[in-house]
Amino acid sequence: DDVKESLAYNMSEYFKQFLFPQNECELHNFRLSFSQLKWDKWIIAPHRYSPQYCKGDCPRVVGHRYGSPVHTMVQNIIYEKLDSSVPKPSCIPAEYSPLSVLTIEPDGSIAYKEYEDMIATKCTCR
């Protein structure tokens, strides 16, 4: 009975990491103001910028949750089973939003520009 109880406890603890994954790959909030970078003299708008970032561990089964290609899972297996010098998949942005910026140009003219891929909106494992 003691052995069974111990096994049941260990199995329970083992499966918990799948139910409540720790430090999983996900989008994190990060906000900065251009005044921190001393760019507020020439960047009129926006005053703040939230680029966000991706951080966390990539699980073994990545295809369903993160839309990763099969190769990512293969590389994970290679890292775990065959060669640990092969890098394990990383948590990186998968999709982005653009950003509009209003600036004062060196000649005193004013420019409104829309830049692509300035804000991370979704993470993936690659």
């Binding site: 009129i44 708008a45 950003l99 005193g108 003219s109 420019a111 520009k113 830049y115 804000i119």
Partner: protein, 306 residues
Amino acid sequence: SPSSKDDVVPDETLELLLVPDNKLPELPPLLLLPPGMRHGYTLLPPLLKVLSDQRHQHWESEVPRLQPDSRALRYMKRLYKMSATKEGIPKVKRSHLYNTVRLFTPHAECKYHHRNEMKGDLHSVDLLFNLDRVTALEHLLKSVLLYSFDRSVSSSFPITCMCHLVVKENDPSSQVCPSVPQSITFNLRFELTRRKWVEIDVTSFLQPLITTNKRNVHMAVNFTCLKDDQHQNFKQEGSFNTALVLPSLILYLNDTSKQAYHRWNVLRFQKRNPVWSRPRNSPLADPAEDAGRDDTEGKRASRHRR
């Protein structure tokens, strides 16, 4: 003072060495360095050279820039509010395809004022715009002359202006399309109490110039204005002239470079997949916009199902 030409060191490097930056390794002041090392800005390790170049560029960006006119700044801030959400994300509008808007104030101007009580008040301005900031990858969609009015001046009567605009080419032989009209005359009628801005579309004139990478645009604009009330004889003398501030030139452009946002890709995608929209759970979505869109899309989706 340097004893020879070889000992001359760029000023920004001198500043760099005498005032060490927190990010740079500690370096002794230049004068304490042995002559061989003084000679060697080029002898500095490549990494330090790169850092000093970057510092030079950074220093350049810290030089105070020419400040634009406050009215122009107000107009562009308004344009920004209309074009982007509070988080700075461009609104996907079908009404415009520009991803770049540039506002230029004239560099040189000469005002001529002729007063004629019968014919009205003639206001003539020579304008020169420098378009160096427009890159080769920015294609012109529309250009307007933006006139703003001094709020302290008001008129209870509508004003009618006859405007004559001439684009001046310094070298007529360099005109690419001589048949393109170089001047136009048109009428404007407005009330000062209602309007803050007047935009005059000059796209047809500027398109050939910008396409051929002309950096300087020279035009003359003449306004002859009369109040619509015939009994009024310009009691506020010169009031309309002071109200009429020098125009700015606004260019609506499509930047085709990689780093620019190409909204037509999004519009094309939405056209093919009308059910798709911006992710609702996106922390960056504008809640007010999404609330409105949800209702519309819900109705559209149910209509589609029926």
